[in-house]
Amino acid sequence: MSGGGADEEGRAWSRHYRRPYTVTGGRTRPAHDDLELETLVQTVAGVEEQLAGLGREQRSIAALCREGVSVAEISARLDLLLGVTRVIVADMALQGVVLLHRPQARVADADLPPVELLEKVLHGLKNIS
């Protein structure tokens, strides 16, 4: 942790020379078709041993998602491409390292606000800006 400048420079090198396609082996299509941006990701407890065999990105995601974090947030927090994040998370889910929670599914039968209400809110927001 010595000197943020040196740290920054070391990261700059890596940003420059590591390419995102290598993280997924060039894959761009997640194994889960229904993986949405707002899908919550939560690391399964007791998979530390399994984690040791995973790559750096996977471990970082596992560390981040102990509480349940959305895919979009993972992408932003870890500075990973969204497309890449989705592929990795889908893989991890297949391996059973993380669980996926779909917010829509949970609130599906609850009383969703009517579309008109949402449109009004949108309209109001537009007026504010």
């Binding site: 040196a6 070391g10 700059a12 396609y21 997924t24 082996g25 894959r27 997640p30 990973l80 890449v84």
Partner: protein, 633 residues
Amino acid sequence: MTRRTAAGGRSGIGRLVPRLPILGDLRLGRRLGWVIAVLIVLVAAIVAYNARAIDQQRGSALVVYTAARQRAFVERYTTDVLLVVDGFQADPEESGEDVRQPVDVLLDGGSVRAPGGGGARVEIPPARDWRVRLKLEQDRRLIDELISTGDLLMEGGREDPAYTDNVTKLRVLSAQLSSVSNDAVQEITQQTEASLSRLVRIEVALGLLSALAALSLGLLLRRAGTQQAAQFRSLVNNSSDLITVLAPDGTIAYQSPSVERMLGRRAADLAGTALGDLVHPDDRHDFDMSLTGLAKAAPGATDTFGCRLQHKDGSWRHVESICTNLADDPRVNGLVLNIRDVTEQAALRKSIGDLLHNLARRSQGLVDRQLELIDELERNEVDPDRLDELFRMDHLATRMRRNVENLIVLSGVDQRRRWSASVPLRDVVEAAVAEVEDYSRVQIAGIDDLTLAGQAASDVAHLLAELVENATSFSSPSTTVEVSGGPAGNGYVLEIEDHGIGMSDDELAEANRRLAEPLAADVAVSKMMGFHVVGRLAARHGIRVQLRHCWFGGITALVLLPSVLLGSAGEHPAMAPPVPAGVMASPETLLLPQTPMSGWQPRARLPLRRQAAPAPHRGRDTDAAAGAGEPVE
């Protein structure tokens, strides 16, 4: 051109006489040819004259013998005639013929019985000398008269009133004939003597001429020898090359004078000093290694090396030297160096290198901007298909960058940008994999949490990319290439292992030779270009690279990173946060240091393999899955 003109100008005997190889001096060679031709003609003439003289002498002796016998025949004839007249038995006809025949033969030529007898006959040519002929004609007239007188006597007998007169006439003629014969013999003897003495004179003259020719031949040969020596001396003195003889202790035993032209130093001043003192400090190690290596080698061994020598004015001259170990030659007893000034070539090479470097730098800037743009597009892309397209572009641009930076390495311009911060070793390995065409076949396994010195990061990434590219190119598309690491006594070893067809022992040795001696590499051998680049990069950082046969087939490339380049990840933060892959690089990082290069020409281009669906993770030892892309199958 001069040669041709000179050769065309040869004429006469000079053209027939083979040109003598007198070190290229045509005029001297031609003159020598002439002298030898004259000498041959003279000797032939002497031999011919000798033969003729012997022949003539033999002929003369015969003539004298024949002439001398005539007297005896004349006397026998006279006696025979008188005997017949007196009534005794005799054969004047035969003896008359004996008298006449020799004169006829002497005058008109013919054959006579050889003096030795035995029936052999000897040809006598007609007499040529007019005095001899005169005497012989007179002789013949007298003989005719003698024989007609004899005939008269034999017809008339003693009763003939002219008997007494005829007998007197016969005796007078006989005496006259003897006298004339004597004269003829004398004349012939004189002529023979004269011609013999003429022959002797000619022979003496010819002998003198031959002696002269031989003398001039000797002189010319000596001159040619001197000229040859002078030419050689002049070659040594005036050639732009230096000839230096080093004593076993490395001091200069002999220095050709041309050193004054090349280095501004006098040969006499250099004798006894160490040549190594003139060598550029950076080249000193290689220079010493070459010389000690050669001194230990078998006599007659040869080595070549290049170095810089200091001119008296302080400037450095680039030289190439061919060095031969002649320690076993008592006349030399040391190393002979033939040193050639290649400063101009070096300057030319440098300017070509600069040109290459400038062009490559420009391309590098463009590729960096392209990558920057791709980064930006990738960041905002959520559609898998479009992201896939972008990844392809990204991969192409990354490989393009590697090619461009490869050119920068080959340009020889050492313009490293120093990155002060350390970089995680894993990142370096992953960067290397990203630069490889068939990256999805590469597995990264068990790289320890180490950091690599920033100034070496790019070069190491390039080096690894070359080796990984080689491994993927020469192995089946269905196999994987594994990159792993492990600590070594004096550093850290990265292993790149393929399951391909491997290399023959010769190819392996050649590749390792190129890896070890990148400077001696021949850039023209494009097949080995990658090894050349690897060798250069390795040499920059004291990295050692070696190829080995793999026990299960294929090749293992070992890369030993020296500990001075390494740090532990604990003291450096770079590992802590995951490195964002798709983030746009900051502007200053776009001014790249020179880094990756490519160069191997794979025998067959392998299609870029992509996975249509995620492959199940195989849980390969450590963290293979994420870092470098999953193995295809």
